[in-house]
Subunit: 336 residues, 4 copies
């Protein structure tokens, strides 16, 4: 039975507590939060759980094998380092760190210590994203042409990071997962339409291997919530719409023969193939956070490296930093 | 009764012939096309119409007051010049020209000759775009935050222009119409996913006055046809979806009080206002091409300048040229 | 070259004129209408066409092989009889007659005369309905459980027939076509919500062979236009939505194994199987009226009986009459 | 602090436990279930709660003011009687009883005892249904023309009741709530398409005052889940779609002037008015079960009668019984 300590019982932490206390093979042993009220709530909900106010007290306890960190973004880096140095496995909410070098140091630290370091990119454990990747199997999908994603809503506005660091990590992680690689460069334009101190909307284009583009539109200012990822390939278009409960994933097929795929001077006046069937494959429901926690436990138990390990997380941070630099230079391409 | 000559009876020209022959106040007097078969078809459909093979023959005829040009894009510039020099009013399909300087010359020529020069941006006469602009009235809409547009489909691929020159003129014209001005700069990334000789997908960001952004996604490679324009402002989001017959225009309102619009350090953690009602205003059906032709006739009759005159068209061409240059420099901002 | 006379150039007739004048293998020879203005319009659009004011004048002409009748419903029966007695093939708009016995007489007359009698159930030539039937192939569909259809809108209100005779013929014809048979009984409730002199909404249930039900909801009073036909079977649900241009036909599959199809006392507490994939098969566009006219010409040329012959039409009329009687007896089942 | 005993901790009971244990003003004091395992689960989740195996033990306890019953339908009647006879307030899941007379006796018993008897028609506390009723305010809605509802899915099939008793109570309760009255008659056709021992699909028409019809389509055999209620009136159509999270309620307005509402012999050929705007009003999220439980507590505290009291529930049972009789006589109208 793996004993887990949870650091942070604010907005997101209680979800981890609920999931961890339901899992066979793990036990929520300690909850750590600076607020006495939050700790009182935790004890009320989980009568047997121990509580403490800071991570040092938590790490001094015997028998805590792993730590889950669900605190504000700016605290992640220090907390992860403390936990790894104390020999604990770590699952930390994204982003792992706010800058590239410290992020790289954490990844190295985990490797050197032989500990699991996993970052909470829950979308990688979302059944819709998994089905999307399934729909991109080369035989059915052909070559990847490009990806694009939209993530808009009315806030919630963050004060410690801009809209790119808040929302785009999800999309970059999904893109990297789907393509099996990281972008090489970024070109982005942002704006502060809400007159806050950070960019609150942005249009981002990322360049991947084989000249595949990935475009991301993020916004805190749009009164229409959208959560959509799209991949376009030779034979089909695959969409994941996280707000469409009934049909979260859809395949739009190209119909007809493939000989129009590479249009030549003779044929390219004409329609490039034809539209074909549209299919909404059945996606099994399931809570991504639970799947993610199960994977964390599995990785510890079997000495496996999780999909979203320190290196993966570092790739996302590196991309976010490049996007920031491109926004500062008004769209000019910046290497990741 | 205004007598009109139609140059070009290929793919698009017959639509003009049908509309012009139904309008009170105008008469389709001559059809001009190099193909004898096309002229035969024109005579069959419009028994009284005269036909000729080139614009010179057309312009030699008495009593042709105005010329409508619906030929391939690369021929527009020369044909417009000929018609204006011969003292005729001109309605030409977009784009008016493929380069900035010749386009500017045409605009000047029309002004000097006192002739109407109108460019066929039919979307400006689309009831949905009109309703969209109505929905952006300052009282109801507030400040403009940004615009974005998507125009994707499987081809049809052009051999004389790239996807930006083929599809984006519609979106640029709509943006310029909605904002009442032209962009100041462009940042764009394109790609040749179909391995043709020109960019077949592109992600474009335009910078307008007051730091308003306009983003455009165009693609010839997507097996899902989308025709959508979106404007986001302080109080609502307005959408025009040309493929949604039942509800082509939708307003997504921000609910609640406005004091969250400019989030301060205290409140910006929280949701920026709330989502409100969604309204699909009734849009009266009507054929945009007919409305456009009526406007052309009206402008001639009353000596009025059309919305999409030479200057307007020149603004679009200038923007397209800037997008091309930005794509060549991989996203770096280029002044329009 | 088959010479065709068109009787009726009012609301619907011009569509026949347009389609017939475009078909290879047929010639629109005469147009017949009591209104001089309508005849003038016909001559203007089709310079070579002859015109006359009544069907007698039309039938006196040599060389008219077939007659298309597009006049008000109450005139159909007499016009069809005249044309058949004069030895002409007939294509008449639905309904062929307003009562059962005269309808039966027409069907017999056509058979005795060896002439094609076709009734204009255009939905049978609609690519969406055809694809729907394709989707009901026994292997893929299983047994038919039941059908239902909705046909609602704001009017247009008719003064000569009630809403059932106006709208339900489409649905009955589609049901009979999909099931390959006619209903045995009808149970229906109607109402006059608009305070007109005839029922303007109705809920109808029809009983087909093998205890298959067909339910129809028709309304002139609903400000939401719906045109939808649904078939539910063992393995899938098939929908035809005539207002969904992009995805007019959809298949909703049952997932999992079939052993839950006939739930027994042990298993029937549980979910009856699982929901499966949803597929929108590509439906080739095409104008149903054109396909229908081509079929009429083919039937004449090859001596074939059309799908919607007199007998088929009689089945629909018999059903409409039974629905009327059931509405009068407030829902009690009436044999067809 | 009101002390509440919960009878039944099987499928639905735990939801009551969760909601009741979160409410200020009430305390979940006892959980009663025949299964030791379920009681163990209850104690684990709610450490302070008492447990017992049958209602007698529960009613013997002091200080239990009210009882919530969430057991199988066939047990409701006896349990409600026991609780009322013991002087407790009762909230029971629908249906209150399976036959009319015993149901009437329960309503009388509650009245005589001066106790609150509430039946769990949660949809009456659903924010979408509330908004629907709001949208039917006479000024905005005009006269009610008719209602219709669809409630379909793949099972879950019940073995103790048919599909009408399983699903239609929701729709009848919603209709009665919206119209402020009960139906006078019913006409219904059912079928056993799954070859089970009870009707598994049914088409029902109910007759309310002022000749208003209410139509209900219920099915256990449809692989497309639908939960929709529609009201059509003079000025608008109001829809509640429980599966549309983003826009659960929509108003479809009739446009133009109202003088076409009662079409006369002159105008009724024409379109009855025009389609107008479509509005999706913001619906505040909230858990209906919680609102319902709050209402139960309020009614007890203030001596108020709940919306869904014994009389209301009896009206639904009476209607269900009439539907059964009409199905047996194949659609003939049966008085409620």
């Amino acid at each position: 039975m793996l004993k887990i300590g949870l650091v942070g019982f604010g907005y997101w932490g209680p979800n981890y507590a609920r999931v961890l206390s339901d899992l066979a093979g793990a036990e929520l042993a300690v909850v750590c939060d600076p607020s006495p009220e939050r700790l009182e709530l935790a004890r009320q909900r989980y009568p047997g759980v121990a509580t403490c106010e800071d991570i040092d007290a938590l790490l001094e306890r015997d028998g805590v094998d792993a730590v889950v960190i669900a605190t504000p973004a700016s605290t992640h880096e220090a907390l992860v380092r403390r936990a790894l140095e104390a020999g604990r496995h770590v699952l930390v909410e994204k982003p792992m760190a706010l800058r590239v070098e410290p992020g790289a140091a954490l990844a190295e630290l985990a490797a050197a210590a032989g500990r699991v370091l996993m970052v909470g990119y829950t979308f990688l454990y979302n059944a819709g994203v998994r089905k999307m990747k399934e729909g991109m199997a080369p035989d059915a999908f052909g070559d990847v042409y490009y990806l694009h994603a939209t993530r808009t809503n009315l806030g919630p506005i963050r004060t410690d990071v801009n809209v790119v660091w808040d929302l785009a990590p999800h999309d970059i992680a999904i893109f990297n997962y789907l393509l099996g690689g990281e972008p090489r460069w970024a070109s982005a334009i942002g704006a502060r339409v809400l007159h806050t101190s950070r960019d609150d909307i942005a249009f981002v284009t990322l360049g991947y291997a084989n000249e595949v583009l990935g475009n991301i539109h993020v916004s805190w200012a749009d009164p229409n919530k959208v959560r959509e990822s799209v991949a376009v390939g030779t034979r089909r278009r695959v969409v994941f719409n996280d707000l469409n409960d009934g049909e979260p994933v859809r395949y739009f097929h190209r119909g007809g023969s493939d000989n129009g795929a590479t249009a030549d001077s003779f044929g390219e006046f004409k329609l490039l193939g034809r539209h074909g069937d549209i299919v909404s494959p059945k996606v099994e429901p399931g809570e991504p956070l639970k799947t993610q926690c199960l994977e964390f436990i599995e990785c510890i138990a079997r000495g496996r490296t999780p999909l979203a390990d320190g290196r993966f997380a570092l790739g996302v941070i590196r991309t976010l930093a490049a996007i920031d630099r491109s926004m500062q230079s008004k769209g000019a391409t910046v290497e990741v």
